[in-house]
């Protein structure tokens, strides 16, 4: 098992002044595994991501990173203002350590080659996330760290984007760390959930976590039910071609069972 280990963070603690953001957090990331990091706003998710990326040194604890590890990262937020005339193609080509000849093929793979000459400011949330993913994939990463890739993306694009991430994992065998609020979308193909509230309150298989008392206390009973529903019926979730998908938050078994016609 050790040879698949990419990052191993042990008992990591980080404080800002008196405010302890992370307390004794341990996370392992392995090749071929999709790990989803969940937690409320301000639970320390972004800080943990920065520790794993090596941007913040933890005050206590150790972070092992496999020597020479190739990392792909998509940030939560990119400034894409109308004031900068930057096309999607130019944005992806700004990555200096990548082969520019690969850009077209990579954009084709994630399905945004048609938007090559579109200004960054004019892309939809889903297209922007695909562009970021393409950029991250340019150097064949062994580990993808995706910070809230589904935030600000409409529901249909969310499940397609999520499917794309799962496909990338299948094809390349890379490890994936996904930070997400959209639990009902990501649970289907997640191997392991880490629920963070300054400390790791529970970790394990999605269904086990959904039933864990600390998880229920944080996210409520309803979400656990929704997740279980989706883990059971996940083959339906991707299939809507413009079919009305159930509105998030009001999902009922009846609405879901309409499925593809």
């Amino acid at each position: 098992m050790t040879d698949t280990l990419l990052i191993d963070a042990r008992e990591v603690s980080v404080s800002y002044g008196d405010h302890r953001v992370l307390h004794d957090v341990s996370v392992e990331l392995r090749r071929g595994e999709i790990v989803t990091l969940v937690g409320l706003n301000g639970a320390g998710k972004s800080t943990l991501v920065q520790v794993l990326l090596g941007l913040i040194e933890p005050m206590h604890g150790t972070v092992y990173r496999r020597p020479g590890l190739r990392l792909g990262y998509t940030p939560q937020w990119v400034r894409r203002d109308r004031s900068m005339p930057l096309t999607l193609g130019d944005f992806v080509r700004l990555r200096r350590d990548a082969d520019p000849a690969r850009v077209d093929a990579q954009l084709e793979e994630v399905g945004v080659r048609g938007a090559l000459n579109t200004m960054l400011a004019d892309l939809s949330g889903g297209e922007m996330q695909r562009a970021l993913l393409a950029r991250a994939l340019l150097t064949d990463p062994e580990l993808l760290i995706l910070d809230e890739p589904l935030a600000g993306v409409d529901m249909l694009s969310q499940s397609m984007l999520y499917r794309l991430i799962a496909e990338v994992r299948e094809r390349s065998g890379c490890g994936v760390l996904l930070v997400s609020h959209e639990l009902h979308v990501v649970m289907a193909a997640t191997d392991r959930v880490v629920c963070l509230n300054h400390h790791v309150c529970c970790t394990g298989h999605p269904r086990a976590v959904a039933a864990h008392p600390e998880f229920v206390a944080l996210f409520g009973e309803g979400l656990g039910e929704v997740m279980t529903l989706y883990t059971h019926h996940h083959d339906h979730a991707h299939d809507a071609h413009g079919e009305p998908l159930p509105v998030r938050g009001t999902i009922t078994p009846e609405a879901h069972s309409q499925g593809p016609r």
């Binding site: 990326l53 400034r79 900068m84 130019d90």
Partner: protein, 275 residues
């Protein structure tokens, strides 16, 4: 042409050349008010330079850097929004500068010249300083172009891809401080930010990529400097404000080429009128 006019033109061109690409970063990173705060503190720098007997440009650049670092330290506390904090710093620095000037009896300076520029009065050494700073700015921006673009798009992503984020941020502050120091002679500390922002804003309407926006901004800056100085000489107008008005004219006209292109396309796209 008179030698003083030639010197003014050459000096102002050096500043406009560097202000083009640097101004693009000020626009992209929303640093306009930050630049204004530095410019308002320049008077303190002028006095510093005169009192200890060094070139005023060095005094101004030094003061700007101190103010910028002070702002960065205060900003971390996040008690006030950025613009409010910058507003406090800008106007406090200008007020301190004016009071310090009144108290320095031995110093006799042309206040209007520092507030609104006196490019027609620059000497050969001033001209040399302007070209050194202008060329240095262009070379540094060219070498660090893609890193600075990544810094502007996402600091986290830039850091992961190996950009020294802290150093690059400091670099931009340093370049802006230096430009304020030399640009003050051209349009004055009250108008210097306009030399950064207006050509870049006009170029935005004409450009299709970040680098073309930078080049067009430089070109618009040079055109404005030429037009402004010509108008100043022809009608005896104050040079600095005339340059800024010329740049503003470019900004107002800059959306036109895109409109004209759109208009040319329209006839075929227009649906047939009903009856």
């Amino acid at each position: 042409m008179e030698p003083f006019l030639l010197r003014a033109l050459a000096g102002a061109i050096a500043v406009a050349l560097a202000a083009g690409p640097l101004g693009c970063f000020v626009v992209w990173r929303r640093m306009a008010y930050f630049g204004a705060a530095l410019a308002h503190s320049a008077l303190l720098g002028v006095l510093l330079g005169l009192l200890i007997g060094i070139r005023v440009e060095i005094g101004v650049a030094f003061t700007c850097i101190v103010i910028a670092l002070g702002f960065t330290a205060l900003e971390r506390h996040r008690v006030l929004a950025k613009d409010a904090l910058l507003g406090v710093i800008a106007h406090a620095a200008l007020a301190f500068g004016l009071v310090a000037l009144a108290l320095s009896h031995g110093v006799n300076i042309d206040l209007m010249g520092y507030l609104f520029g006196d490019v027609l009065a620059i000497g050969p050494i001033d001209l040399g300083v302007m070209w050194v700073v202008g060329a240095l700015t262009l070379v540094v921006l060219r070498l660090r172009w893609s890193e600075l673009l990544m810094l502007t798009l996402s600091e986290e992503l830039a850091a992961v891809e190996g950009v020294a984020v802290g150093r690059m941020r400091l670099l931009l502050v340093l370049l802006i401080a230096l430009l304020v120091a030399v640009g003050m002679r051209v349009v004055g500390l009250l108008l210097i930010v306009s030399l950064l922002i207006i050509p870049a804003a006009a170029a935005r309407n004409l450009a299709r990529s970040p680098s073309s926006m930078a080049i067009i901004a430089s070109a618009i800056g040079i055109f404005s400097v030429g037009t402004g100085l010509w108008a100043s000489w022809r009608w005896d107008l104050p040079a600095g404000p005339a340059i800024v008005i010329a740049a503003t004219g470019c900004f107002v006209l800059s959306p036109l080429p895109a409109r004209v292109r759109a208009h040319r396309v329209r006839p075929e796209a227009r649906p047939e009128p009903l009856a």
